[in-house]
Symmetry: C2
């Protein structure tokens, strides 16, 4: 996969995580040179999943729960939005691998994957010796 659009008004869609190289989350500074477009996309899709206030709130809410998990019925009131909207955001977090989901009885529990979030964070952490 390389950049599909070069000219004109152009789709800026970022692919889903499954279509994206799993090569990710090496510290940015470990590449001597510009990131390839594919690597940049791989990182950007993960950042994009977190680049929304509601999703940041959802992550922080899960992080504060015992077992790092909660059902939609708890998450919607926690952020003050309708359940479909929260479901939409959770779907994006799930697609980015940042949360897991599991049905237990009538409820669907979403559980934070802390390693996935931390991995994105480490990518952004720049070695002090760089430059």
């Amino acid at each position: 996969m390389s950049r599909k659009w070069q000219t004109g008004a152009v789709p800026k869609t970022l692919p889903v995580l499954e279509d994206v190289s799993p090569i990710c989350c090496r510290p940015l500074g470990s590449t001597r040179g510009t990131l390839s477009y594919d690597e940049a996309v791989a990182l950007a899709v993960r950042l994009k999943a977190l680049a929304d206030p509601v999703r940041v709130q959802l992550v922080s809410f899960l992080l504060a729960q015992d077992g790092l998990e909660a059902c939609t019925c708890d998450l919607a009131p926690a952020v003050g939005l309708s359940e479909p909207t929260v479901s939409h955001h959770l779907k994006q977090l799930y697609a980015a691998g940042l949360v897991d989901k599991e049905r237990r009885g009538m409820n669907v529990y979403y559980r934070l994957v802390p390693d996935a979030v931390s991995a994105v964070g480490r990518t952004l952490t720049i070695d002090a010796t760089a430059g």
Copy 2:
């Protein structure tokens, strides 16, 4: 500042950094409970600035340069886009405090602010003892 939109189709604009609480970049796990909407916005605007493949490439390119800096005329070919487009992306990185700019003669040099990028990264790094 609290959530301005509650119902209907709604502007999802994130404010600029200056309008946003400077409280940011504490590790997500350090808040026992859901992040306030304001704190979530403060983090989201910074993440959003990085959540684009082109901007990720620009950051990685700057990181590989001596002095962490380059002029627009070098950055545009590095990512294969027009100068206006690159200027647009640099403006967003600048607004988020992730790069500095300085005019020297005919050129404008953009310099990476590694601490700002790292600060965002640390926010996402979850303490292993959490949960």
